[in-house]
């Protein structure tokens, strides 16, 4: 008769089963209180997912375009005059060891009009630039219509329009003519947007020889573009200004166009943080909802607690039961929220043409937050339930 009385441990499956009993009995209440958690988690997962999807898209774009392009642009001197780069700037840049391609554009003083009936003063917001023939391949640009400048065409009054320039001039077909100063120039090609150097979308490009022949251009380049090996970008950057304009390197502005795209990936962070904060508030409110539900559940189920104690449940078992119930309740909300958030990310990313990226850490973080809320919200009601005296519990109405 002195056998030791050891309370039996409930199997994990039984713990879950008992924890779910209270939830199954009150489905409407369960759905409503899980909803708060679901909204919070969905918001956070979707916000992170959208930010990541957009970032991934920009990164893919960078990968495609390459980050090894540098530009060296002539600035203004102290008197405000535009500095002229030496005519042989491109040749000098090509002599830098790791440089693979170098090319240039130059500002050309030629006013553009749609036709000769448009008065001189009304320009179309399109500027003229001289471009070397290898510009397009160096920038990775593509022709939407017609052709790029050809060795023959660069000597003739022909032009290739950037995507925005064509739109502003209202030109959709090649073969049409526009006016540059008083010269009729034939449009031979229209480019697709050049993602790395969007400023070129707004210009009309002519060959260097044509610019010199028809528009009094002096042959000095204003911007030099170069591509080097990926590893040597910084090395080239260090010497580029000096190479392009020996003697007065301070007026040369060297930049890396891909940096602008990379910066775009970081710009939305403020908004992302704000939305995350809102999600956290929703989550907190959801947690309060769960705690409220649990407190009421314990109050309503005092007789059940008394019965379970009479069946041999220890205080621990009662505490575990209500804690499990709270965990299941918030996990239900969290799981639903994660699904909703992923679906929302997918839907929005699709509408933008992005690939859906939902980082696993955001799902894991959501789950962890959910479980933490479940514990915090359930702990107090669970402890109250376990402290209930069995006879008091049984006798309560």
């Amino acid at each position: 008769m002195t056998r030791d009385l050891k309370p039996a441990r409930l199997a994990p499956r039984d713990i879950l089963r008992v924890g779910a009993v209270g939830l199954r009995a009150r489905r409407a209440r369960v759905v409503l209180s899980a909803l708060g958690i679901a909204i919070g988690i969905a918001t956070m997962v979707a916000v992170v997912g959208l930010a990541e999807s957009s970032r991934a898209d920009l990164m893919a774009q960078l990968d495609r375009l390459g980050t090894n392009l540098l530009t060296a642009e002539a600035g203004d001197d102290v008197t405000g005059q535009e500095v002229k780069l030496p005519k042989n700037a491109v040749a000098m840049v090509e002599r830098i060891g790791p440089v693979r391609h170098a090319t240039a554009t130059a500002n050309v003083d030629a006013r553009i009009r749609r036709s000769d009936v448009v008065p001189q003063e009304r320009t179309a917001g399109v500027t003229t630039q001289a471009a070397r023939l290898d510009l397009l391949t160096t920038l990775g640009g593509e022709v939407a219509r017609g052709t790029w400048l050809t060795p023959a065409g660069e000597r003739l009054p022909t032009t290739v329009l950037g995507a925005v320039a064509a739109e502003r001039l209202g030109i959709t077909r090649t073969g049409e003519a526009i006016m540059m100063n008083e010269t009729r120039v034939v449009v031979v090609g229209i480019l697709k947007p050049i993602e790395l150097v969007p400023t070129l979308d707004r210009v009309a490009m002519v060959g260097f020889p044509a610019a010199e022949r028809y528009f009094g251009f002096d042959g000095h380049p204003s911007t030099v573009f170069e591509r080097s090996t990926d590893a040597s970008v910084e090395d080239v950057r260090a010497v580029l200004a000096r190479t392009v304009n020996p003697g007065d390197e301070a007026v040369v502005k060297v930049s890396r166009p891909s940096d602008a795209l990379a910066a775009k990936a970081a710009t939305n962070e403020g908004l992302t943080h704000l939305m995350l904060g809102l999600g956290a508030v929703a989550l907190l409110v959801g947690g309060v909802g769960v705690a409220n539900t649990m407190v009421i559940s314990v109050l309503e189920r005092r007789q059940e607690i008394g019965l379970r104690r009479s069946l041999g449940a220890t205080r621990n078992a009662i505490r575990l039961q209500f804690l499990t119930e709270s965990l299941l309740l918030s996990a239900l909300g969290g799981g639903t929220g994660a699904l909703l958030g992923t679906a929302a990310t997918h839907g929005f990313a699709r509408s933008r043409g992005w690939a859906t990226v939902v980082p696993p850490w955001s799902l894991a973080g959501g789950l962890a937050a959910t479980l933490a809320i479940g514990v915090v919200a359930g702990l107090y009601p669970a402890i109250r339930a376990s402290r209930l005296h069995p006879t008091v519990a049984l006798n309560s109405a």
């Binding site: 008769m1 002195t2 009385l5 050891k6 309370p7 039996a8 441990r9 409930l10 199997a11 499956r13 039984d14 089963r17 008992v18 009993v21 199954r24 009995a25 007789q303 059940e304 008394g306 019965l307 379970r308 104690r309 009479s310 069946l311 041999g312 449940a313 220890t314 205080r315 621990n316 078992a317 005296h389 069995p390 006879t391 049984l394």
Partner: protein
């Protein structure tokens, strides 16, 4: 042989000077079937809680199945209840929305019995209270008498040494009450010690031993010569 219940000078006082039990001595041997009778307020419910280890006496000793209740921690008392004691309540305390088998199987939950075995034994227990045609029924689909028989099945499914029934017929009509008492007598005949609390003298008189309470004391303890089989 160790008595199933042994109370020595057990008292229960509540703060404020209410004495629910005053120096009660009671010994119940294995296999007995007794009634605890008395008007409400006589302390018989407290007596049942003390015997059932749901409550501890403020003084005196209580031994149940040989264990001194005072020496056991709360969780060991729970284990004692899980293993040796079955309860039947006036208002059944069945879990709504779960069928009879699930309700009865809960009687084994805290004894650490695996689910499959719990359900198998629950069916056997339901058969013993003649409810083998009601396995899948939920409490709201059962009559009062059937509900109480489900509750009895839950109490006996763990094969406890002692079944404590608190007014088991109190919420039932006479016919259902008789069936319930018959089931309890059958259980007793199979060897279970049963203690029925009732304020119904008629029921009490039909049982072999009657303990009468008044004002927290036992005022009478009478036995009818055994009429049936006692092992």
């Amino acid at each position: 042989m160790t008595p199933v219940i042994e109370l020595r000078d057990a008292s229960k006082a509540y703060p404020g000077g209410v004495h629910a039990l005053r120096g009660v001595n009671l010994t119940v041997d294995a296999g007995e079937l007794l009634a605890v009778v008395g008007p409400s307020g006589s302390g018989k419910s407290t007596l049942l809680h003390v015997i059932g280890t749901l409550d501890r006496p403020t003084s005196g000793t209580v031994r149940v199945a040989g264990y001194d209740v005072a020496t056991l921690s709360d969780s060991r008392l729970a284990a004692l209840r899980a293993r040796y004691i079955g309860f039947v309540f006036q208002h059944f305390h069945l879990s709504a929305g779960r069928d009879a088998v699930a309700n009865v199987a809960d009687g084994l939950l805290y004894a650490g019995v695996p689910l499959r075995e719990r359900r198998a034994r629950a069916r056997e227990a339901l058969a013993r209270v003649r409810l083998d045609h009601r396995f899948e029924h939920r409490p709201h689909e059962l009559s009062g008498g059937e509900k109480q028989r489900v509750a009895i099945a839950r109490a006996l499914v763990g094969e406890p040494r002692l079944v404590l029934a608190d007014e088991p017929t109190g919420a039932l009509d006479t016919a259902s009450g008789e069936v319930v008492m018959e089931v309890l007598r059958e259980l007793n005949a199979a060897g279970t010690t049963i203690c029925v609390i009732t304020h119904d003298n008629e029921i009490a008189h039909a049982l072999p031993r009657r303990v009468r309470c008044r004002d927290g004391e036992i005022v009478a303890d009478s036995r009818t010569p055994a009429e049936g089989a006692r092992p």
